[in-house]
Symmetry: C2
Subunit: 135 residues, 2 copies
């Protein structure tokens, strides 16, 4: 299924500000049985591409490997009524640089120099999401 190209949207200034702030994203994906899955995530971006960092084998990672379509809602922690919902698709998943990237996110969200939740038997992975629609 999936791989329906639904165009590319430019991240709006509000979306960029919310992503750059210490705000959580709630990432929706679809499980194998077609039911929805949602998980809180730390968010980052590289130009117009949204970055999420997870662990290989987690439900959301496997969901996005199977079906590249995602929806992501990000609300301003200090004003939850300022928010965006982004629909898009995963354009890449890469383990390259994923350890450094989770440390960068731990710095942003927790002020920590190093991410504390790592486990030696877990492989971090960066998910790259291209926005298709922003509301």
């Amino acid at each position: 299924m999936a791989n329906v190209v639904i165009g590319v949207a430019k991240l709006s200034p509000i979306a960029v500000r919310l992503i750059e702030g210490k705000n959580f994203g709630f990432l929706a994906t679809v499980l194998r049985d077609g039911s929805p899955h949602v998980a809180p995530v730390w968010v980052d971006h590289e130009g117009n591409v949204i970055l999420v960092n997870t662990v290989v084998g987690r439900a959301k990672q496997k969901n996005m490997a199977r079906d590249d379509r995602v929806a992501l809602s990000i609300a301003n922690h200090d004003n939850p009524y300022e928010r965006v919902v982004i629909r898009g698709r995963v354009i890449a998943q890469t383990t390259e640089g994923a350890e450094e990237h989770i440390d960068k996110l731990a710095k942003k969200y927790r002020g920590a120099d190093k991410y504390q939740g790592s486990s030696p038997d877990e492989q971090r992975i960066i998910i790259k999401i291209e926005p298709a629609r922003i509301s």
Copy 2:
């Protein structure tokens, strides 16, 4: 599709506390084309049933009428690392009492006596969700 019964879970004390607090839920549903949808929602409960209030015809309402499976993440606003993800299914949608219910939610979330976002051409509806799995 859907209507796969996946059992009923009892709302955990943390889930109840998060729902009763002034915390947002992020509700994931599945669009007609099988892609995920996510929307921030105010949350309430009636015993073990989670209540969400929306407008007839909105994407999430139509999604839940088509496929009763949902996922809902609720984080503590004051400590976003305290959170639950609930998977469940919609057991009812009703417009009965939905106006009073949105006022109740406006009181809880905004301290308002009446919900300010109503429009005469919109019909409010209560979505009743039975939890199946809580993590």
